[in-house]
Structure formats: C-alpha cells, structure tokens
Symmetry: C2
Subunit: 363 residues, 2 copies
C-alpha cells in the first residue's frame, strides 16, 4: 500500500480524514558541528568510552548503505525530512539530538554544543511549526547549567522537554548530584526523555565482544537498568511530579514488572544491600504514575498491546525512531489491527499532546 | 483459599480431579558438600567472581528470614520438600542443582561435585518417583567430561536433561569449545536448561553498585544476553534439534523479539561486526523452534499470555522457582483466569512431559 505525498496542508487534511494526527516522539537529528567533534574523538587513540567508539565508529566510518543513509538523514532538518515524514504518514516529529548527544564531550564543549544544537532545532521548528516539535539537549556534566539550558529551551525556544541519553562517562542519573536537572523539569512541568546510550564501560564487555552492544540488546540493558535505578534511588519520591518518557516500550521493564516488585520487596526486607532503602510505593506504581513509554523500534502490535494492558492505554505513545528504524509502511501495517479509533487517537496523538504539551491542530 | 495437604496418593487424586498435574520445572536444590565449598570460596580474600560473592555472600551469610529459609529448603530432598509441594498444589518438581552449581569451582572439583550431586538427586527421585524428576549438573570447565556425565545422568540415573547456569568464570556457551555438551544433549534428545547466574565480572559493574545484580534485573540481563548469543553464534544451525529451556519467560527475549529480528538483519547486512555471520533463519524463528520458556519467578498472567501469543501455547511451561519464590497461593491465584482446561493442561503438564520426557501418570 502506498501513501500519497502530502504537503504541509495535505498532512493536516489527511490527519483530519483519518481522525487523528500521527505524532512520532523519538525522532533523531544531528548537527554537522557535533559530527565533526565525534570524528575528532574517534580519531584519538585509546577510546575513553568503548560503546561510543563501537556505535559512532560504525555510523561515521562504515561504507554500508545503512550507515550512509542514517548519517545523511540525521542532518536533515528541512524539506527532505518532511518528505520522509509524508512518505510514512507521520504528521509531527518530536525531535531530539541523537545519542549520546553532548554527553560524550568535556563539560565546556558539552554546554556549548547543547546550546547551539537547541538553537538550530528551534530554528527548524520555527520554519515548520506544524510538523516539528523538539526536546532540549543539555550537558549533565554541569547539572546547574543543564537546568538553566532546559529553562531557556522551554521558555525562550518553545521546546517541549529534555532528552537525556542514559549514562555520561559511566555516571547515571540516580546520583543525586544530577538532581538539579530533575528539579528543573518538575518545576517547568516538562518531561525528561530517557534515551538509550551504548552500555557504559563496566557494563559493555561481553556484549561488545558478541556484537550485541547496540540496539539489538545492549541499549535495552543499559537503559532498562537506568530507569530501574532511577526508581530504586527514590528519585520519584523526591520529585513526585517528575515525568519520564522511555522508548522501546519501556526497555522491557513492563515485561519484568511483576518480578521487579517481588524481588525489590524481598531484597529490601532482607537487608541485602544497606543502601537499598524502602520506597513510598512499589516499583510498578512509579512505572504507572511517572513513566510513559513510546513504541520506538518496537512497531509490533503484541508488545504494544501488552504495555497498554499492564501500564494503561494513556501511557503508551507512538514513536518511529527515525532515521534508525525508518520503515515507510510501519504505521499503515500497524493500523491493520482491531483497535478502535479512540485507542489509536490516544496512541498516535493525544497522549503525546498531553505529555509534551503540544497544542491540538487548529482545524 | 487453602489447599489440603496431600499424600503422595492424594496428589494423584487431586490432579485427576483437577484434570491435569502441575509440574514445576525450575526448582532448586543444593547439597551440604557444595555449600561447604561455597563457604570456603567466600572466606577467601579477593573475590574471583563478584556476582558469586554478592549472591552467596548474602544467602550463606545473612541472618534474614529469607536467606535462612532458602538455605534450609534448598537442602531438603525428602518429606519437607514434598510437604511444601503439597501446600502449594505442586504435583511434580523437576529439580536442578542451584546456580551457579559447580561452575564456580576449579575443573577437578567441578567434575567431582557434579557427579556426587547427580547421585544424591537420583537417590531422592528413586525414593519419590511420582513427585520428583531431575536435571543433571555437569562441569562445563571440562566439556568432554560434561558430555559423559550428561550421558551417565540420562542413561544410568534417569535424569531428564541438563542444567547450565549461564557463564562459567566469564565464559559463555556460544564459544564452540563447549559444543561437545550440546552435541551430547542433541544426541540423547534431552533439553538443556539455561538458568541464570549472576552477571559475569565484565557485565556486573553498575548493576552491583546499585543492588540490581540479582533476580530483580541482573539475572535477566546475563541470561537474556546468553540466550541471544547462542542464537547469533549459530549454535542452532549447527545443532538443529537442540532444545533449550529458559526460565523467567525467556529472560525478556520474547518481548524484544521484533527488535532483535530487525536489528540482527540490519547489523549483519551492514557488516558492522565482521564476526557476526548470517544465520539460516531469523532469531525469532529459533526462539519458536528450539527454545521453550518457563514461568519461573513470573507468576503473572499478562506476561504468560503474551509469551503464549508470540511463541505458541506449546512452548510455555510452568515453573515456580522454589524455594526462591515460594508462594503457596501462586497456582491457585493464577488459575482464577479465563484459560480453558486444555490450555492449562499444556501449561502445567503436557508441555513439560513432552520437553522433559516425563511419563504421564499411570491412572
């Protein structure tokens, strides 16, 4: 089944005919200046971050079709991207700087590149306000400055939240030294998108040896652990209104929900780790109260339905993971299922509007 | 709802009234001599295996109710265990030496303890042939001897397959040096149960720091990776009749099935890792053809139904994970659902009879 090319107005008309807009919520871009710095890091001798070198050594070095097309598409923030969106029936992309974004840089570079990327993203959104929305990049290496950049991104640039790409040189956001960032997100009432990164150096060994460090498995290990660590650290007790969005249908934590609750209770009760403290609620309650999951990379009805069942249909959002998993037939194939139009509207449109504060279309 | 204590005959009668036997397929035991050697390893200075010290340092050292009861119950291979089975409505336990079994020992000790554990297990089964079945422990440190011990276990002791507890000092069974073991399992037509171990030293760092190295998350990371590595290594192309049983509903690989297929195809096509070779089938096909999953630790209807949907109802087996997750109400609560008796019979009884070659009851 082919989809007609849509103009900007055409997209509105088709969304109206369909009964909902399709908002894709984990869509990546990159800037030329960031890639230039990535290339410099890759050219250095001993890799500081083994996962970064595995991932970006491939994308920026491989002559394969996959790598070349992704590098090209990541840098499109104009007509070419909109043409890909039209071809795949996507009305709006929520854009974020691709992983690991600025988190691989030294602190000063990270602060500077985050700011400049946000400015470039905001310019693209100003040009195509009906097709693009965006999340701010920040430099967690300097938490107080990250909080300020988030505020600038939201208040001055109109961005809809923040992206964090899992670990930063092996450090995770369960460490309270980062929590100024969460305080800012809660105060601004915007979500934090916890996006995968390659597993950190102490987690990647056997995965890297087997070629399983990337999206096939390692990203999920890294990011699922990070989300679980946020929960067990008590971050949601400290910031009860914090909203975290997680891709790849929650990085499998919805699947583990029963076991996590059982084992967290048993582990805390037995005092196995002195530092693991009781929480106000059980882990699954935070997953259902503070976390939203998107379908990035998981365009598969059984897993989407499972998450809707165990988390609630108001907590599962559509994402494509463009350009990493750019499949033009994706949404059309997914819509062959038996879901009601109301359920589809929540999945594709209204959940995203609510979580990211995106205004419904004017018409 | 309380369950009447059953005698050995009583169990048969209740199973007949119910319409099926409940066979629990991932049930652990330990021997006193193995625990004595574990205590010696723990008393040594620098830990060779950080996950072993975290796990067994807790169970053998903690004064908590949980640790004491589990250590006690693991060593019961007689009336006390049968009384626990009666209390929870379990007709048959498929027993295996608890993780990491002998895989933590030096090769000579591992060979010797595997043999002696299998003898003790076989004696318990001879005493209670209607209530116990068992899997052989082997020492993968010496693959050829492991293959022989499997043959002795199956042919002479009447054991139903073999248990492997994930990594052995950081080595995984995707390494062809271990494949004599799989050749023996395939030739004997018995399954290999791939059971969790604590993550290996190169995988455990951030998990251990956060108290997430155990059953709450780390076991799944370790064992899910191991199963995926078996698949991508081509072990099922080399041994197409090999049957692998995996607990905890497949260690989340069923949830990741779509993404694994997509990313395996993309990764191989782009040549990202020279050593990652094309397979004869896509990864999900091996999961559906060579792998069976059990519900150990996942007594949760939504996840069980999801696995039945995506793998097939003939591939999902019941397990309790006694004594680690001993919940007497478990099966009664799970049977409140809408499943037909035919579906329940497959889940609790006939799938296990087929996979482990357990004879149906005589009556």
């Amino acid at each position: 089944m082919s989809i007609d090319r849509e103009t900007e107005t055409g997209s509105n008309a088709m969304a109206a005919a369909r009964g909902y807009r399709r908002i894709a919520t984990e869509e990546a871009f990159a800037t030329a200046e960031m890639f230039e710095l990535y290339r410099k890091l890759l050219a250095q001798g001993e890799p500081l971050d083994r996962g970064f070198h595995s991932l970006w050594g491939f994308y920026l070095g491989s002559p394969s079709d996959r790598a070349r097309r992704i590098i090209e598409r990541l840098q499109h923030l104009d007509e070419q991207r909109i043409s890909d969106m039209d071809a795949s029936g996507i009305d709006v992309q929520v854009l974020s700087l691709t992983s690991p974004g600025v988190q691989i840089f030294d602190p000063a570079t990270a602060v500077s590149i985050a700011r400049s990327s946000n400015d470039q993203l905001a310019a693209a959104i100003r040009k195509h306000p009906e097709r693009f929305a965006g999340l701010a990049a920040v430099a967690p290496q300097r938490p107080a400055e990250a909080a300020k950049e988030l505020e600038r991104g939201v208040r001055q640039l109109g961005l809809r939240g923040m992206i964090l790409n899992s670990h930063t040189h092996g450090e995770y956001f369960d460490d309270p030294k980062f929590w100024d960032i969460f305080a800012a997100a809660e105060a601004l009432d915007v979500p934090v998108y916890l996006h995968p990164n390659s597993p950190s150096n102490e987690l990647i060994g056997p995965l890297l040896q087997r070629g399983l460090d990337g999206a096939i498995y390692g990203f999920g290990v890294e990011t699922g652990m990070h989300l679980l660590a946020l929960i067990t650290s008590g971050v949601f007790d400290r910031f009860p209104k914090l909203k975290v969005v997680v891709g790849h249908l929650g990085e499998a934590l919805p699947f583990w929900l029963f076991r996590i609750d059982y084992m967290h209770r048993a582990t805390v009760a037995s005092g196995r780790y002195a530092f693991l403290k009781p929480l106000q609620r059980c882990p699954s309650e935070y997953l259902r109260a503070n976390v939203f999951v998107t379908s990035s990379g998981m365009a598969w009805a059984p897993a989407i339905r499972f998450c809707q069942e165990v988390l609630g249909i108001d907590r599962v959002l559509y994402a494509m993971d463009y350009p990493y998993q750019f499949v033009t037939e994706e949404v059309v194939e997914m819509e062959h299922g038996p879901d009601s139009i109301e359920k589809r509207r929540m999945f594709y449109q209204t959940n995203a509007e609510r979580v990211f504060g995106i205004a419904p279309p004017a018409n």
